[in-house]
């Protein structure tokens, strides 16, 4: 087996109109790209389970069918912008359809609602970053310049090109598509208070932040991760774009009795 899958579980809950595969991620302490915290750049992540693939168009189609308040014509504009589910034919499962592509054009509020319907939530940034540090064989491949270059290469794919089907490129944990397909919402996207301009020390902007000020980004050679932080920190909860999707996480089952 090419990669080590830590307890993949296929869950097909009776109350769900779609099945979802979650895999265990052990968590631990790792150097995050987000610095300036009390923990001096070392972030602790509790064990969790993460969706093996991003949410697809067909899965989101099943969700809006059972949750009509999240259909494009019904969702209030305080939760979604005018691009919400634009250019989508959801729920089309026919062979050759786009149902296996990651859903995009989804606001943070809609993504949270989907995850809650799936008995989960969006991952925190640290949970996402922890899982995304892995390549196919190593839990943390970020020190490998060739791996970083490969990720950056994926981002150079033209935005006009159709998105690939989910499920390729499984990493060490058995999680696919963390890089190279879409950007992904995180639960605490509005916690990424990145200093817009690191030269602004001493300017009145500091009053905007209570406490220790904005995050200092670490690992400055890890451009792909820094791009992601910059993108997420610029978003509002209602935003939806053609390259922004999501996946969900659930609490771990490790060490708990079933």
């Amino acid at each position: 087996m090419k990669h080590k899958v830590l307890g993949a579980v296929l869950l097909s809950c009776a109350h769900l109109a779609w099945p979802a595969t979650y895999v265990d991620v052990p968590g631990g302490t790792f150097p995050s790209a987000l610095g300036n915290d009390a923990s001096a750049g070392q972030a602790a992540v509790q064990p969790y389970r993460m969706r093996a693939t991003p949410v697809t168009r067909s899965e989101f189609g099943a969700f809006v069918a059972s949750h009509p308040q999240w259909q494009r014509k019904n969702a209030p504009r305080v939760f979604v912008d005018s691009d919400y589910l634009a250019d989508q034919t959801l729920g089309d499962d026919r062979p050759g359809s786009r149902g296996d592509q990651p859903v995009t054009h989804v606001s943070w509020f809609a993504a949270e609602a989907f995850c809650e319907a799936e008995a989960g939530r969006l991952p925190t940034w640290l949970e996402w970053e922890f899982a995304a540090a892995a390549d196919a064989t190593r839990p943390d491949a970020r020190g490998d310049a060739a791996w970083r270059a490969q990720i950056l290469g994926w981002y150079s794919r033209p935005a006009s090109q159709a998105l690939p089907a989910v499920g390729a490129r499984a990493n060490y944990y058995g999680i696919s598509d963390l890089h190279g397909v879409v950007w992904e919402w995180v639960d605490d996207f509005n916690a990424l208070l990145v200093n817009a301009d690191s030269r602004s020390a001493g300017d009145p902007d500091k009053l905007k932040f209570c406490g220790a000020g904005a995050i200092d980004l670490q690992q400055r050679d890890n451009y792909a991760i820094l791009m992601r932080v910059a993108l997420l920190s610029s978003l509002k909860g209602t935003d939806s774009t053609s390259s922004l999707g999501f996946r969900c996480v659930r609490p771990t089952t490790i060490g708990t009795t079933p």
């Binding site: 305080v78 509020f109 605490d188 990424l192 009145p204 905007k208 932040f209 209570c210 978003l235 935003d239």
Partner: protein, 203 residues
């Protein structure tokens, strides 16, 4: 130009999607009627239960009917948060007593773990504000994240009981639509006061 808009411009450079949303805020007013559905952009569509400094629990949507200044804070904050309260008080002082009597103020804590009702009450008792119109409130952690997203406020726990957070006073009209915003601290923002007056006279 306020600090907020300067920062906003910097961020917008990276995401042009922001502009269209901001401009559309005031455009969608529901027709006036006795019991109308909430406007599409009303944050009162977010079902959230808050508990204030007196232990009273209420739905945010129950604030419908009068303009409200809303912001987020945490009680153990030493620096910006006292200034936040002083800024709202300075803003209120620019209003006539009649105008002031119709304005509600709700400050929601980022830190529900530490900001219990007792802590909120202690903070309220130490500040001289009108507790009939002002609420220091708490809710669950998931709702804090969603409310902050609705209000466009960023915050981050930094591990030692402190939070980094952006600071903004947000003005909601009687239907819960955002009609004003300022991040000016320490004194009343003249533009914000103008928006406040306009909203009070039209609702």
């Amino acid at each position: 130009m306020t600090h907020l808009s300067r920062r906003g411009l910097l961020l917008a450079a990276g995401a042009s999607i922001l502009a269209a949303n901001t401009l559309a805020i005031a455009d969608e007013r529901a027709p006036a009627a006795k019991v109308t559905p909430l406007p599409a952009k009303s944050i009162y569509q977010f079902p959230v239960s808050l508990t204030d400094q007196s232990g009273k629990t209420f739905q945010l949507a129950e604030r419908r009917g009068a303009p409200m200044i809303v912001s987020m804070f945490y009680t153990s904050c030493q620096y910006v948060c006292p200034m936040l309260i002083e800024s709202i008080q300075a803003t209120e002082q620019k209003l006539s007593p009649t105008e002031r009597a119709r304005l509600k103020v709700t400050l929601v804590s980022f830190d529900p773990e530490h900001d219990t009702v007792q802590v909120l009450r202690k903070t309220a008792d130490s500040r001289s504000f009108d507790s009939a119109r002002w609420a220091l409130a708490r809710t669950d952690a998931t709702s804090v994240r969603k409310l902050a997203a609705l209000l466009g406020i960023q915050y981050r726990a930094i591990g030692n009981g402190d939070f980094n957070h952006s600071t903004a006073l947000i003005l909601l009209d009687a239907d819960g639509q955002i009609v004003g915003k300022t991040s000016e601290l320490g004194s009343a923002d003249a533009e914000f006061v103008k928006a406040l007056r306009r909203t009070l006279s039209s609702s």
